[in-house]
C-alpha cells in the first residue's frame, strides 16, 4: 500500500481488478458474493474540525459505495456544512468507478481530508 500525502499526485488504476479474497464468513453469503464484496477503510485524515475517514465497498473490482465513516461535527454549523458536502463526494466516488457512468458532474465539492482518506482506501483496494 502506498502512503499518499495530500497534495501529491497519486495513481489510481482502473476497473479490471480481480479480488483475491472475500469478506463473507458463511457459505450462503460466500455463494451470493461470488463476485466478492469487500470494504476498505481509508486512513483517517485530520482537518481543523476533526478527522475525516472514508470507507469504500468493492464488488467485482468496481466501487459500489463510498461513504464517510467519520467527519467533523463539532458544532451545529459544522454538521450542516458536512451534511451537504460529504454526500456529494460519495456520489462522485461511486460514479467514477461504476460501469454505468464514469464521472459525475455536480455542484463544486471541497474537502481536502476526504480526498486524502479516499485515496488511501483506493490504494488499499488496488483500484
Amino acid at each position: 500500500m502506498r502512503k499518499i500525502v495530500i497534495g501529491s499526485a497519486a495513481t489510481v488504476s482502473g476497473l479490471a481488478l480481480l479480488l483475491a479474497w472475500q469478506l463473507s464468513t458463511n457459505d450462503t453469503d460466500a455463494a451470493e458474493a461470488a463476485g466478492g464484496e469487500t470494504t476498505f477503510v481509508g486512513e483517517a485524515k485530520p482537518t481543523d474540525y476533526g478527522d475525516v475517514q472514508v470507507q469504500i465497498t468493492v464488488v467485482d473490482g468496481k466501487i459500489t459505495e463510498a461513504k464517510a465513516l467519520t467527519y467533523p461535527n463539532t458544532s451545529d454549523v459544522d454538521k450542516k456544512i458536512n451534511a451537504r458536502a460529504i454526500p456529494v463526494l460519495e456520489e462522485a466516488t461511486v460514479g467514477s468507478q461504476s460501469a454505468d457512468f464514469e464521472l459525475v458532474s455536480g455542484a463544486t465539492i471541497t474537502s481536502n481530508a476526504y480526498v486524502g482518506s479516499l485515496q488511501d482506501a483506493l490504494d488499499q483496494a488496488g483500484l
Binding site: M1, G14, L69, S105, T110, S111
Partner: protein
C-alpha cells in the same frame, strides 16, 4: 496510522487494467482528478503530462487566488497593482470576464459576486474553467482520451482512439442519486448549484442570493463557457428558461426548487 476495525489492507491478485488510469490531487480548494482511457494510459509520457497539468493548476492558483495576499488578483483587489501592470494572462482573464458579463446580460458578473459586498474584481468563477481548460491542453495528442474532473466540472480531451465518457448529473435534491446522464467525447460539462458549500451565487441584478433553481448543468464545446453559463443560469433562476434558448451549441438540465426539470439541446 489511524484506522477503523474493518481495515483490509491486503495485497490483491489481479492486474491493473493497462488501458485505465487515474490521478487525484487537491488544488484550487477542490479535488481534481484526471482519468485516462486508451492503450497508452500507463506510458511515462502520459504520467509526465498529467503531472504538468497539476503543476499548471497550482501555478494558476498562485496568480489568481483571491485568498493569497501576494497573488496578482489580490493586489489588484487591494489597489496596489494596476490592471495594465498585470501579466498578460490576468489581463486576458479580465477581458474574458467582461465578455462573460456582456454575453450573459449581466447574470455573470465578476465584479458583483457577493451579496452586499464590495464591487471588487473577482474572477474566481471564471478562472476555474479557464484554468482547467488551459492545464488540460497538454493532454492532447498523447494517445489516450482524458477526462479532467475539477470539483464536479468536467472537461474531456479526445485521444487517438475514440472514447465516449458517460457522465452522470447528480440530483441536487438527493446527492446520493443521479438525475441524468450525458455521453461526451469532446468538450465540457459544468454544474452549478446554490446549495454547495462555498458556492453561493449572487444574482448581480438584485445583489441578492439567487433562488428558484437548485442546479444548472450546461454541456458544450468549451468548459469555460459551460461553467460561466451554468453560473449565470443559477443566478437568473426560473427566468433562465428563456436564456438557455440563446445558448447555441449547448445542451443542459435545470433542476428547480420544486424538483421539476427543464432540459434543452440547441443546435449550433
Amino acid at each position: 496510522m489511524t484506522s477503523g476495525p474493518t481495515v483490509h489492507a491486503r495485497p490483491t491478485r489481479g492486474q491493473p487494467d493497462a488501458g485505465h488510469r487515474a490521478w487525484v490531487e487537491h488544488v484550487m480548494s477542490m479535488p481534481v482528478s484526471v482519468h485516462a482511457r486508451g492503450a497508452d494510459a500507463r506510458s511515462p509520457q502520459v504520467d509526465e503530462a498529467v503531472r504538468a497539468t497539476f503543476a499548471e493548476l497550482h501555478r494558476i492558483e498562485d496568480v489568481f487566488s483571491k485568498f493569497r495576499p501576494t497573488s496578482e488578483v489580490s493586489r489588484v483587489r487591494a489597489g496596489t497593482l494596476r490592471l495594465d501592470e498585470c501579466s498578460e494572462e490576468v489581463q486576458r482573464v479580465h477581458r474574458l470576464c467582461l465578455t462573460a458579463r456582456e454575453r450573459t446580460r449581466g447574470a455573470f458578473d465578476a465584479w458583483r459576486t457577493e451579496p452586499g459586498g464590495p464591487e471588487l474584481f473577482d474572477p474566481t468563477g471564471l478562472v476555474k474553467g479557464w484554468a482547467v481548460v488551459r492545464a488540460s491542453e497538454g493532454l492532447a495528442g498523447l494517445g489516450p482520451s482524458f477526462a479532467v474532473d475539477a470539483g464536479g466540472d468536467i472537461v474531456v480531451v479526445p485521444g487517438d482512439a475514440p472514447h465516449t465518457w458517460t457522465i452522470a448529473i447528480e440530483d441536487p435534491a438527493d446527492r446520493t442519486r443521479v438525475r441524468a446522464r450525458v455521453r461526451v467525447a469532446d468538450g465540457g460539462v459544468a454544474t452549478s448549484g446554490v446549495a454547495a458549500r462555498g458556492r453561493h451565487i449572487t444574482d448581480p441584478r438584485t445583489g441578492l442570493a439567487a433562488e428558484g433553481l437548485l442546479s444548472a448543468t450546461v454541456v458544450g464545446p468549451s468548459l469555460l463557457w459551460a461553467d460561466v453559463f451554468a453560473t449565470a443560469v443559477v443566478a437568473l433562476g426560473p427566468d433562465a428558461v428563456d436564456f438557455v434558448e440563446t445558448l447555441h451549441g449547448t445542451s443542459g438540465l435545470l433542476v428547480r426548487s420544486d424538483g421539476s426539470t427543464h432540459t434543452w439541446a440547441n443546435p449550433d
